[in-house]
């Protein structure tokens, strides 16, 4: 297993290199630059600005300087938009918030999704199943930018239970985590239901029933392990999605997370911040996929580390 993990880790080096290189050049070839604004400045001032950020050097020099700074010092450079912050500072400042939002949403998604999925599978083709399945279908169909304001309207503006936006106290965290969590809970519920149904029809479950095992024992001891497999494969990309896809939630709820920086940096042509966030997300996605692969082998003895 260690050889498997070591090999996968080694493979990430060229992958990251390709990602960094492609992003570096792609972002440069997009029209418009970090200093374009509605009110134009003089060509001399623009030249001063470009010199200040080293953008006057030939592109290949900028590229090698950038790589050197990352590899030798772990320095992701300075943001051109937020003059007083380096990319490292911005990431260190914002990532914990995104992780917190992601963690809370994931917990909600798992608790709601797994329980709903199991209940629906066990009570297949009953009212309970239909209710849970319609909830899941709705959750998948309703986008976060509709669900978010809807929840704010009900729980913040009319009932006044939670905050409409911000990220200061616990009341601020409820609605955004719920909004992001519900969408993924819906997906998890459907997958769990599907996975469980498949497993519940297997011979070994029938054998367990025939031997008089209790329903709880059948579900939790025998069925759940197999039923969870599709959910685990879904979780890798889902966690990455929760972390990178929190842009909408962060904007709706005014949360100081990294998702907003990730998207806005591209709009601002903040080259270094684009690269910094892309690298970070690439590392996150690669590591999460690795974790999922390892967990899957653990769960399913038919798979081997290869």
């Amino acid at each position: 297993m260690f050889r498997f993990i070591a090999r996968r880790l080694l493979e990430t080096i060229p992958v990251l290199f390709i990602i960094v290189t492609a992003t570096f050049f792609m972002v440069r070839f997009v029209p418009g630059g970090p200093f374009d604004s509605e009110k134009a400045t003089t060509p001399e001032i623009r030249a001063n600005l470009e010199a200040y950020y080293g953008l006057n050097l030939p592109l290949h020099r900028q590229y090698t300087n950038y790589l050197k700074a990352i590899v030798l010092h772990g320095d992701l450079g300075r943001s051109t938009k937020y003059a007083s912050r380096t990319v490292n500072e911005i990431i260190a400042d914002k990532l914990p918030t995104s992780l917190e939002l992601g963690g809370l949403s994931l917990a909600i998604a798992l608790v709601l999704g797994l329980s709903a999925g199991v209940i629906a599978a066990v009570r297949r083709n009953t009212k309970v199943d239909y209710i849970v399945s319609s909830f899941a279908m709705t959750g998948i169909c309703v986008p976060t930018f509709v669900l978010g304001p809807l929840l704010v309207l009900i729980f913040a503006i009319h009932l006044g239970w939670f905050s409409a936006s911000g990220w200061y106290v616990w009341q601020d965290r409820v609605l955004p985590s719920l909004t992001l969590g519900i969408v993924y809970a819906a997906g998890i519920a459907r997958l769990t239901r599907g996975g469980m149904l498949e497993v519940l029809n297997q011979d070994y479950i029938r054998t367990a029933r025939a031997k008089g095992a209790s329903e709880a024992r059948i579900i939790f001891r025998h069925a759940l392990r197999g039923g969870l497999l599709p959910v685990v494969s879904y979780l890798g990309p889902a966690i990455a999605g929760i972390l990178t896809g929190s842009f909408v939630i962060e904007t709706i709820f005014q949360i100081p997370g990294l998702g907003r920086e990730f998207v806005n940096s591209a709009f601002n042509r903040d080259y270094t911040l684009v690269l910094g966030t892309v690298i970070l997300y690439a590392v996150l996605i690669i590591s999460l996929n690795l974790v999922v692969d390892v967990v899957q082998v653990w769960l399913n003895p038919k798979l081997k580390f290869e």
């Binding site: 943001s79 917190e100 409409a164």
Partner: protein
Amino acid sequence: MFTPLLRRAVLLATATLLTFFAGCSKKDSPPTVADSAPAPGAKILRVGNGAEPQDIDPHVVTGVGEHKIITALLEGLVTYSPDGDIAPGVAERWDISEDNLTYTFHLRENARWSNGDPVTAQDFVRSFQRILTPSLGAEYAYKLFHLVGAEEFNTGKLTDFTQVGAKALDDHTLRLTLKHRTPFLLDSLQHYAWFPVHIPTVEKFDGLTRKGSAWTRAGNYVGNGPFNLVEWKTNQKITVTRSHTYWDHAAVKLDGIEFFAIDSADTEERMFRTGALDYCYSLPLGKIATYRREHPDMYHQDPYYGVYYYRINTTRKPLDDKRVRRALALAIDRDSIIKNILRDGGQTPALNFTPPSPKFTSAARMAGDLDEAKRLLAEAGYPDGKGMPPVEILFNTLDSHRVIAEAIQQMWRTRLGVDATITNQEWKVYLDSQQTLNYQVARAGWIGDYDDPHTFLDLWVTGGGNNQTGWSHADYDRLLRGALETKTEKERMAVYQKLEAILADEMPVIPIYFYTRVYAISPKVKNWISNPLDSRAWKWVDLK
């Protein structure tokens, strides 16, 4: 009940989640507290302030939201009176020489920085030197180009700053020497590019010629304004509290202000509705009717010194023909756009470029009706639009621009028979297309930098950075240069009338409407001054 394997998997998942939460335990850059945080029950104004500020260094930033924060923390030579007029700031009075080229400012002796140091004339001189230093790369350095030698110093042609027209005659006397008459100098001094910074503090953090040094962080910031920086939570809010060293601190009404960084107008409005904000900077279009009907005490629409217009690339056929440009301009039903699209937010149809103000109202206006438009188009060789190639209207992503473009597209088609397509580009691409003249007609807007028609008419000088139409007119350039050489204000305004007449005839840009600022404010807020530049001195604002 669980198999060992499953138990391990669950443990692993739990551990991953726990690590998440551990990572989240407040590791924010510690909000260093300069002054004591405001006491409960204090008068704290909560303001929606647009996107996260780039910085709060007046020599680095370029935005409007930044302007609002900086005017709380720093004060220039002049400030605003409670009525929104120019009032003495750090300078208690000033003399202007007869030729209008020398301004001598007498600084008040009790002006203090927040660390107790006196605010001196040298502080201003060194601050001007800082923003003009080429290696700082300050975007707004050109705001100081009215000073003798400033442009040369900024472009490296001059290296000796003593040659620049800013001198400290003594600690409390500052002399500015201008290269040409600048009748709007006092107005332009309200811009933060002219604000002083506490040089020893900036130096301590190695920020004299470096952007983004730590001097602007809470705990480090030394200002001379009515408020002090207490906390900066990035992408959340900036908190300032009343300064006790400010020379006019007795006049300051509020105990503090919280500037919230909010990207989305919808989010801002929801915060306002739940009472989390006292001032909602921009009201979404869809909410205007509701607020008007249900909260007339909160709804405000003020004249705003700006114009929404269409810029034309005059270097390409068929728009190189001024008859075609005028025909297109005449065929736009501006009243309908204001009523049906802008939901009647108080905007007025723009028939000339400079918004009307007490100082200047253009006499020249776009003249003629639809018949005149058709006649012009026929004269240009396109009767009823026949033979005219389609025109492309470019706008940036916002929906409000799209609907206006669609309406104009329809008006051109049905009224003139001219086909138009509309193209949406992302903000920076859209800016690039205009700079490289890679467009035909582009949506644009301009908000005056200071209260004077010059800030609008200056745009269309040949080769000017903001011209971006390829339009060039020798008379226009000559008259514009002459405007600053005139002896009286009356003569100067007469020049601007001529410039407007040239624009109305040549139509390198199609004015559409004059802006208003539509916002919501809690009835608890008192002394909220509205002026067409949306600027105010925070010291006058109060909360009931």
